[in-house]
Structures are given as C-alpha cells and as structure tokens.
C-alpha cells in the first residue's frame, strides 16, 4: 500500500516541472495516496503468462495492439505551405528576442 509524504509529492512535482504551492502539496498528498491505493489492486494479479515478445503481445509498451511496424515509401511529398508556418509579415519564424533584450 503506497503511503505518500509531502516531500515525495514535492519530488514528483520537480520531476514533472510543476510548481505547487503548499495548499496544492497538501491536497495532492491526500488525493494521490487515495488514487494510488486504489490502483495498487493491480499488484495482486498474476501476470506470469504475459511475456513481452509473444506474438499476441504488442511489440512495444506504447502500442495498443499487436501489429507490425508500418513502413511507408521513402518519397518526397510537399511539406506544410510556408504561409501557414512562417510569420506573414517577415516570412521568417518569429521567436522571442534572446539578445539585446
């Protein structure tokens, strides 16, 4: 059963680049503990019959279904039109100034 401390919540927030105020830390410590406790019921399930690499398993963990990797012909096709992508006034990508600001 995962119990969660406020320091762990702050650590996770740092990994996720989320800035939390003390109220959010307090609330998330409680909410995350409850959600993770609920989710922990998967830990009791016997998954020994599931092996990566089986024909009936997806090739990667990020795929929903077993399927071969799709390949396409390596041919040139038009990219996005310039007027959809570049600044209409300058004809360039516009980014925030980084020098002399």
């Amino acid at each position: 059963m995962p119990s969660l401390t406020a320091d762990e919540v702050r650590h996770i927030a740092t990994l996720a680049r989320l800035e939390l105020n003390e109220l959010e830390v307090e609330r998330l410590t409680i909410e995350l503990a409850a959600i993770l406790e609920y989710a922990a019921q998967v830990q009791g399930v016997d998954t020994a019959t599931v092996r990566a690499g089986d024909a009936e398993e997806p090739a990667s963990r990020t795929a929903a279904v077993p399927a071969d990797t799709a390949l396409r012909a390596d041919v040139l096709v038009p990219s996005l039109p310039r007027n959809h992508v570049l600044d209409s006034d300058t004809g360039f990508f516009t980014v925030p100034r980084v020098l002399g600001g």
Partner: protein, 488 residues
C-alpha cells in the same frame, strides 16, 4: 426538409437529409449554414457547447460549395462541430487549456481534411475537459458545458461540447476523441450515438495527444445512418499516423434491423452498483435485442473489474510524457522569466488542477522504484483484459453493457472527488485498453427523463456489426422522437 427551407427547419435534421436536400437543389449550403449559425446564436448561450464559432469561414466555405456544387460529395454542405483538441487550420485549437489559449495550428488534422474533402463545413470548435482529461466537461479552463436535457446536469466528458451540440440539434455530426470513454459516456448522458472506432481505424494526425496507446477520434451522430456516413468519410490509412491499419472500409448498409444469428454476451458480474433506472433500461434493451433475433447469453470478463486502475496508471503515464512538450518553448503560452528553468515552471503553472493531478500520477508511476510495481504491472493486466475479450469473442459476436453506471449527474456533484469521477468510466475503458471498437446508442430514458445508453463492444475492425446492433435498438425504440428541452 421542405422546399421552403426556413431557419427553423435545419436544426434537428440529419446529415443524410441535409446532403440530399442540397444535392436536389431544395436548399443551399449557405441557407443550411446560416440556419445553423442562427441556432447556435440562439441556443448556445444556455449550453456553452462551443468555444469558437467560425461564422465567416463557414459561410465562405458554404458559398464555395454552392458555386462548385460537388453533388456526389457524401457530406455535401453538412455542418460539423469539432472538439477543440483536434487541429483546424485557421481556427483556434485550445484543448480547453490556458496553455493553448492563443494557439493556432499551422495545419488541419487528417480527419478534418477528410471531412472537408467529403463536403462538410467545420462550423466551430467544441468544449472539453482540459486536454480531454475528465468525465464531465467541468475541467474546461473556459467554463463547463450544460446538458441540453437538464441544464443543471453535466453533459459527460470529456467531449461534452460535441455531445451537447448534437443532442440539441445544432449540428447533425460532431467529432470527439475517446481515450477512456470520452465519446461514448457523453453520448449516453446526452442521448446521442457515439462510436469509438478500432485502434488504428482513424488517423490521429492533428489530435492533441493525451494517451497515445488509447486515443481514437470518434464521431457523434443522432442516427446510425449518419454515424455510418461520417465513419466512412474519416477512416483509412494515413502516412502521417503509423498506427493506422490497412483494413477494408466499414461495410454497413442500413438493413431490416434483424439480428438473427448474432450472439451477444453480457458480463453480468460487472453490473453491480449501477443505478436501478439504468439497469431497467438496459434489461429492456436486451429484451428488444432478443426480439430482433439475437441470442443473449452471460459471459465473464475476468479482469475487466481492474480496467479502471489499469487505465489510470497507463493513461496517466502516457499523459505525463505527452504533456511534457508544453514547456513554453514550442506551443502557445509562455511565461516571462529570467531563466529557462523558471520559465518551465511558470508556464506549466497554467495547467488546471485535474491535469496537474494526472501528470503527477503519471510521473509517479514511471519514476524509479515504482515503474515495475505500477506501470509494468498495469501493462501486464492490460494484456489479460485483452485476452479475456479474445476468449469471449470465440462464443459471442458482441459484448453488451450499459455505457455509464448512472444518468447525467449534477454539476459540482463529483468534481471534488477525483476517484469517484474516475469510476464513472468502468464500462468504457476496457475497449480502449483492448483496442476494440465500441458504440453507445440511446435505449430510453431513466428518472428525471434523462437519457440512458447501451454500449456494444465488438471484434477489432467489426464496426459494421456495432452499427447493425445500434440500428436495431434505434428502430425498436422511439428514441429518435425524443428531443431535449434545450434545442435548436
């Protein structure tokens, strides 16, 4: 639609009727478009289904269609609404997030291009839970959507705006996205049809990613015929989405609504705790399926009770990774800061509470020390859930459950209890985890005259059988005669 089409005639008509009337010259795309815009102006202040209405763009497109008259276009002049997490060139695409409030994508999603190529007019963008994370549309940064059947109730979510727009008759067809039930659950709560296609059936190019192994773009419609029409227009292989599958198109023609020889499995062990009203409508629908010739039998999906915990582990792990891209550098909002690190934190502070909660869960379950016991374990259980379906489909052709354990709940009722909100996805998440197609179709009304939906889940790429079953329910109930009090 009559020959003298007035603004009042268009709302509530089907896509098939609109296309036929324009092709026969009984009305024009411009008349339909104006009537649709008028209906949205009249009704949407009470629903807040739309985040953006493209008045000028839609009318320009309608005028172009009236000039060129592509009379064979399957969606000729049909107004469609698009969930605001699907990219549309020239229109904002916000995902209902402050982070993307000013974002305008430089391209349209493949589905949008395909519907436009079929003659459809994108009339506007619809409200959703921020980044599609929620079951009520209350987590939109721009305020909730209200259910046309009772405006003190939620429309469901996350595609609540699209569901409400179709239910109110503002548009005949709308697109949503379904990661754990985000099309089927609002379809049920708003009394319309919502069909999540098989994983790989529809290109996700241009869909703002939430959980990539689960996401599918999915249509809402009021009739089975319209759902089949839009599905045919939006499916197929796309070189820009490597997960799209080379399968024959959905082969469905409206038949006589008989289901002779079709075997339907009901996992009764999952039905504990559903509202009595929902249960009564579901049992009545099963009796209608039997009367239509189907054989209904009980089945077991042993690991399905674990679908919600598996979904919230796998889905949030993927979400925490997908949402890492909103760092102030690449898209939309950027907080001014003196250091790069501070910019990341200040920019990401614009995420709403539910999005932060899910990023936190996802980051936790992928972090060192917890990945094996949570994420890897959940993926193993996901495989067992998929195998349960494969075994069930050896003896049945469809699996039937209610779509949602409850009818539409009140605004504010669950928003303070995330776990309770997650549990409303119990019947819908298994299809996403297994990559299977599933449809929710209205099967009557429960207490307070709120709609109830029945869900059918089928074999991969067998959307045609889902549509047949939906058509049987549609024909054997008088649901299409029911109209919500708030409508166009």
């Amino acid at each position: 639609m009559t020959s003298s089409t007035s603004a009042r005639d268009v709302p509530g008509t089907t896509a098939c009727e609109i296309r036929a009337a324009i092709a026969a010259g009984r009305t024009t795309a411009t008349q339909v478009c104006r009537a649709t815009l008028d209906a949205i102006d009249r009704v949407d202040p009470r629903l807040h289904a739309f985040l953006f209405v493209d008045r000028e763009g839609a009318l320009a497109r309608a005028a172009e269609l009236d000039r060129t008259r592509p009379v064979d276009a399957p969606l000729l002049g049909v107004p469609v609404a698009v969930k605001d997490n699907i990219c549309t060139l020239g229109q904002p695409t916000t995902a209902a997030s402050r982070l993307l409030e000013t974002y305008r994508p430089p391209y349209s999603a493949t589905v949008v291009s395909r519907l436009e190529a079929a003659g459809a007019i994108v009339i506007g963008k619809t409200n959703l839970d921020e980044f599609a994370m929620g079951s009520s549309t209350e987590h939109s940064a721009f305020g909730p959507t209200f259910n046309p059947w009772a405006t003190d109730r939620v429309p469901g979510g996350s595609s609540g705006g699209s569901a409400a727009a179709v239910a109110a008759g503002l548009v005949p067809i709308a697109l949503g996205s379904d990661t754990g039930g985000s099309v089927r659950q609002p379809a049920a709560l708003c009394g319309v049809l919502g069909l999540k296609p098989t994983y790989g059936r529809v290109s996700r190019y241009g869909l703002i990613a939430f959980a990539s192994s689960l996401d599918q773009i999915a249509p809402f419609a009021r009739t089975t015929e319209d759902a089949a029409l839009v599905l045919r227009a939006m499916t197929g292989v796309d070189a820009r989405d490597a997960t799209t599958a080379a399968e024959p198109p959905v082969d469905y023609r409206a038949g006589d609504a008989r289901l002779d020889g079709v075997r339907i499995g009901v996992p009764r062990h999952l039905l504990d705790g559903i509202e009595p009203d929902v249960d009564a409508r579901f049992e009545a629908a099963l009796a209608e399926l039997t009367a239509a010739g189907a054989a209904v039998k009980e089945i077991e999906l042993k690991h399905a009770p674990l679908a919600v915990p598996v979904y919230y582990l796998v889905g949030n792990a993927e979400a925490s990774s997908n949402l890492a891209r909103y760092d102030g550098v690449r898209y939309g909002f950027r907080a001014e800061s003196s250091t790069v690190s501070e910019m990341y934190y200040k920019t990401r502070a614009a995420f709403g509470a539910e999005v932060k909660r899910r990023i936190m869960i996802g980051t936790y379950v992928l972090s060192a020390g917890y990945c094996d016991e949570f994420y890897v374990k959940a993926q193993g259980v996901r495989s067992l859930i998929r195998r349960d379906y494969a075994a069930a489909f050896e003896s049945v052709d469809l699996v039937a459950t209610p779509t949602s354990p409850t009818t539409a709940f009140r605004l504010g009722e669950r928003v303070g209890d995330p776990l309770q909100m997650y549990l409303s996805d119990i019947f819908t998440v298994p299809a996403n985890l297994a990559g299977l197609p599933a449809v929710s179709v209205p099967c009557g009304e429960g207490a307070s005259h709120l709609p109830v939906g029945i869900q059918f889940t089928g074999r991969a790429f067998d959307e045609a059988l889902l549509l047949r079953a939906a058509h049987a329910i549609e024909r054997r109930t008088d649901w299409l005669a029911h109209r919500p009090p708030v409508r166009g």
